[in-house]
């Protein structure tokens, strides 16, 4: 086995070991497992939120997209900073409400706010469904990493299964706390890796970024501006996708829950203020992808997902390739575990316990959670073994789904009259419109992201249906921010 693969495996096992050891600290209860007892200090929370936000999407997906499509790959950095701005205003009232009523998940939130366990369960299902593609991205990435560094010795499927085993392993035991400690390791390594691929390599091959970009402009005219190498991902696509993802970002179960896990409101706002600086590092993979385009041209289709690693293997000694590959593997494993924990918590708490067996004991719910971790991952595994899409495309489609929860969340915070029927109808309409367009090949629709089209339909329907149905909710369940006047 090449040294790069050995080094990468060492890193993966190290991280798994840390994950398993982290459990020793305290007795695992359900609260501990998913929200770390509401006790996360702001620094640990920062690591957790940044670590989950900088995933495979920015380390492998973005360079792959820069290689294949060019300028459209800048949408990730753009929507992320906008999402931080949204979080500054959106998360604190949610946090206050959740704290007052002892809520953990978005399923809890909807169930309590609308006095409807069924709505909570429905929201939980939506959340889980859209965690799957996001998890698929992580597993497919693991497959690409391993395939590239072993030079094809192990099949992609075998590598995906190995990744699956590692993630399931440490999630199964310690839940969110293990994610936090492994995230520290992952963040250190990924920053080193990104500096190498995004600064050292481009400068080594081209001397300066300007030279690199001039070379790209000469060999691939139009690649550096929208729509890049695509036909239809132009300015309207970019704007609509960025708008969509900026409000959908914190609708992801693991990020919603991480927000609720903050120590206080001030730390939420502090994170929003500080995270943009960390985000600047995300520009580096863009240069890495362009360097790959010039140095190892010729990849096409789904193989462009391996652009970055192909460049790495071509350019650096084996042991260093192993370190970078290991960083990439962690960038997949850590968010995958947080995603899956979020999904399993939703399922066990808001469907199993919330709807089916309200009097289940805490230990039963914990055991059910653990089984559901495996179930969610098994579903993601099946899709990972069969998909051929660009990682970035899976990401955009996932956002088209999860963002449909946003109108309900926003209106529930600011308007008393929003009803459970309104929210339900809105989510259903949003999902149907978005995915009807996507599945019939109409994304972008008239140049605009299909998910955003669905979102607009969603908002209209939510308001319209709410105006015609009673909002049967006691004053105690209303957030203090909600007013009686309809949204203007």
């Amino acid at each position: 086995m090449p040294i790069s693969a050995t080094v990468a495996l060492v890193i993966v096992f190290l991280a798994t070991g840390i994950g398993l050891l982290a459990r020793g600290r305290q007795k695992m209860s359900l609260d501990q497992w998913s929200v770390a007892g509401r006790n996360l200090g702001w620094m640990l929370l920062w690591v957790l939120m940044a670590g989950e936000a900088l995933t495979t999407a920015t380390f492998l997906g973005a360079p792959g997209q820069a290689y294949a499509q060019g300028a459209p790959s800048l949408f990730i950095m753009c929507y992320t900073v906008l999402a931080y701005i949204v979080s500054f205003f959106l998360l604190p009232p949610l946090w206050r409400y959740a704290k007052r009523h002892g809520l953990v998940t978005q399923g809890d939130y909807f169930a309590h706010r609308f006095d409807s366990p069924r709505l909570g369960a429905f929201v939980a299902v939506v959340g889980v469904v859209f965690v799957v593609p996001y998890t698929v991205i992580q597993l497919v990435a693991m497959g690409s990493i391993a395939t590239t560094i072993t030079g094809g010795a192990l099949s992609k499927s075998t590598c995906i299964v190995i990744g699956f085993v590692c993630v399931a392993g440490f999630v199964f035991v310690a839940g969110i706390r293990s994610t936090a400690w492994t995230a520290v390791l992952k963040d250190i390594l990924i920053v080193i890796a990104v500096i190498i691929v995004g600064i050292v390599l481009p400068l080594r091959y081209f001397g300066s970024y300007a030279n690199l970009l001039d070379a790209v402009n000469a060999a691939h005219p139009g690649h550096l501006a929208l729509p890049g190498a695509t036909r239809n991902m132009n300015v309207p696509w970019f704007l609509s996708t960025v708008l969509l993802a900026s409000v959908g970002f914190y609708m992801y179960p693991h990020l919603f829950m991480a927000g609720l896990a903050a120590r206080n409101e001030q730390s939420i706002r502090r994170n929003a203020m500080v995270l943009p600086i960390y985000l600047l590092v995300v520009a580096l993979p863009f240069y890495a992808g362009l360097t790959a385009l010039m140095v190892v041209p010729g990849l096409s289709g789904a193989d462009t997902n391996t652009a970055l690693l192909t460049l790495v293997v071509h350019s650096v000694p084996g042991w260093l390739a192993g370190v970078i590959a290991g960083a990439g593997a962690l960038a997949a494993m850590v968010p995958a575990s947080a995603l899956v924990v979020g999904a399993a918590t939703l399922l066990s708490r808001n469907i199993y316990q919330g709807l089916l067996r309200p009097d289940a004991s805490r230990d039963t719910v914990l055991r059910v959670s653990r089984l559901l971790v495996l179930a969610v991952m098994a579903v993601a595994l099946v899709f990972s073994l069969t998909t051929t899409a660009l990682l970035s495309q899976i990401l955009v489609n996932a956002y088209s789904g999860i963002t449909q929860l946003f109108p309900g969340v926003l209106l529930s915070l600011v308007w008393r009259r929003v009803s459970k029927q309104g929210v339900t109808a809105g989510i259903v309409v949003g999902l149907v419109v978005a995915f009807a367009l996507i599945l019939t090949g109409h994304d972008p629709f008239l140049g605009i992201n299909a998910g955003l089209v669905g979102l607009l339909a969603n908002a209209v329907v939510t308001v319209a249906v709410s105006l015609r149905t009673p909002a049967v909710v006691s004053a105690a369940r209303l957030p203090t921010s909600a007013t009686t006047s309809p949204p203007t």
Binding site: L82, L239, L243, I277
Partner: protein
């Protein structure tokens, strides 16, 4: 609260509105203009959020 929202969403609005105007293959300071614009807004965001935090009504602040 309204002042806070306006301050906080200023970089949001500016970034979004500027996109059509910075979409070109020109390279400035080693960046395509689109990336340069995004980075400028990313760097401005903490400042505006800090101002937004200061503009929050007293009961919401620390």
């Amino acid at each position: 609260m309204k002042r806070s929202l306006l301050l906080g969403f200023t970089p949001y609005a500016v970034l979004v509105v500027g996109i059509p105007f910075v979409n070109s293959t020109h390279v400035v300071l080693g960046m395509p203009t689109l990336l340069l614009w995004i980075i400028v807004c990313v760097v401005a965001t903490p400042l505006f959020l800090w101002l937004a935090a200061r503009a929050l009504p007293d009961d919401k602040r620390k």
